[in-house]
Symmetry: C2
Subunit: 328 residues, 2 copies
């Protein structure tokens, strides 16, 4: 910019005015400055600009896995809202590792993002308190913040599962299994709670052997499923805790002799094309992301007030697998 000013024979401030299209510069001066800009290939450094301005016009998004079919549309929705507000988006995957989540969040804060959208991997976000106190707007999405109160956009996980389990009960099932993700994940535990509540509401017992919480690794899902189907009190139906597990469960059941009813949490592409179609409790990941991002920008636009909590609800999509009657 200094070079441009020198070449155009004007002051720094005048170059700044031209670059920012501020009013009050003569046509001839503009032309002279513009010529110098073109000749020198000058490109304004927005980082320097924003250092002076205070805001960076960027937000950070931390989620579990950018490649996950659930989080990918959420990211895209956040991106669209950020774009509408002329903000750039940093993204990072925590890989379900709380240390990595913190590392990413603090790295974004060190770059002075204006805001943060976080799908927590950690269950303790007190490390964020100084940042939030310093003015970094933060919205938690999909899972609640740990040990602090903050804006949150969540799905009613327990409610969704209750609906799914009640659906299986309505189709005559009494021995219903629950196959979920690791218990330290908030949504996994909430979904388990919904299962227990629905079973209790139907006055049905829950055998320990019908419940399994753990990694979504196919090997584990396979063996746990086989155990539930082979025991002395085999399940005739399953509620499955997320899309990763559903996919594996469907693979296992495809090779199993008897039909087993199944309802999964989270919709997925082609669920309607399988035979039977897979019944699911669907949430809308894009809506989750969009809602969180809008809330974030309302905060950045100055909306004060206590932490806001939005709860979205899932809904049942019946496609066949959840309507299979009990076989024994």
């Amino acid at each position: 910019m200094k070079d441009v000013a020198a070449r155009a024979g004007v002051g720094l401030k005048t170059v700044s005015r031209v670059v920012n299209e501020e009013a009050g510069v003569t046509e001839t001066t503009i032309a002279r400055v513009q010529a110098a800009i073109d000749a020198l290939g000058f490109r304004r450094n927005d980082s320097a600009r924003l250092l002076r301005k205070g805001r960076t016009a960027s937000i950070g998004l931390v989620l579990e896995d950018l490649a996950d079919p659930f989080y990918a549309p959420l990211s895209r929705a956040v991106e669209e809202v950020a774009r509408a507000h002329a903000n750039l988006l940093f993204t990072g995957s925590s890989a379900e590792d709380s240390a990595r989540e913190q590392e990413l969040v603090l790295a974004f804060c060190a770059r002075r993002v204006d805001g943060l959208i976080v799908v927590p991997a950690s269950d303790d976000h007190r490390y964020l308190e100084p940042e939030m106190a310093a003015g970094v707007a933060t919205v938690f999405v999909d899972r609640p913040a740990g040990q602090i109160t903050a804006d949150e956009v969540l799905t009613d996980n327990a409610g969704g599962v209750r609906e799914g389990v009640a659906h299986l009960v309505a189709h005559g099932h009494r021995r219903i299994g629950f196959l979920g993700d690791r218990p330290h994940i908030h949504t996994a535990t909430e979904r388990l709670r919904g299962y227990r509540e629905a079973m209790a509401a139907a006055a049905l017992p829950v055998h320990d052997s019908w419940v399994s919480m753990g990694p979504t690794a196919p090997d584990r899902v396979r063996s746990e499923l086989e155990r539930m189907l082979a025991g002395p009190e085999p399940v005739t139906a399953l509620f499955v805790g997320n899309n990763r597990i559903t996919v594996t469960a469907v693979r296992v059941l495809a090779r199993y002799g008897r039909p087993v009813a199944l309802v999964g949490f989270d919709d997925f592409e082609l669920a309607d094309l399988l035979r039977p179609g897979i019944s699911v409790i669907a949430q809308d990941p894009a809506l989750l992301g969009r809602t969180a991002a809008r809330l974030l920008f309302r905060r950045l636009d100055g909306a004060a007030g206590p932490p806001h909590r939005v709860e979205l609800s899932g809904h049942l999509i019946a496609r066949g697998s959840g309507e299979i009657p009990p076989t024994h």
Copy 2:
């Protein structure tokens, strides 16, 4: 930092030394500075730091759609490589709009990203020449750069399609249709070329009515497919140009009376669980992203030399749909 220095009663440079863990500061001084840092809740501003340092330790990724099941794993792979190099990642979706691609790319450059990974939507990247001349390392991935020479990581699209079409020919098909994406997309045209080459190699004619290039919107795919299946020379097999189209084609064929053979470009989850399983030419999006990112960081580490072009190859996965014999 000024406040910390004042409170600790030291110079600015000493605070800088402590924050950066540079050698040559007394234990007692460190303790005093650290106490001031804690008391004031000081957090270093990396943007300011990097302004002075020259590099921003961030890269930008522009692709078609962050939510697309093909690009999501590519993004994640880029992210992992960036992380290994202690870089932060900006992401943005061009939505197949060349103006939006340019806007994103230039916004990233204005923030002075060190490097750029671009899945082009545009066919003219001359707008990037000043940026590249100014030192922004750039790698194009999945599709080539337009009107400039640059580092590229591509898939051998034509070769993949030749393999797929030859597979259909080997199973006895002579009337094979091609249903592809819009012709201005480089990969779409390359795949069409592979189709024509394979048909020619098998000495088979190609009817105009067997080829359709256009938007992946389900309505269009459906009507074009119905046309190909209903004409006077109906196709008995289809090569389908990408995963978006494949999904719709599978839906349409599921309701069609006669079995139609199908091979699609790009693998997708659950392709093996459909009946029949869907045969595809699979590429590895994560490998594409990883390769591009590694090349980018080699450039950033100083690797000189002319533009480098890497071509990865796809491979056929036979699952049933591509092995259906002709029915008439």
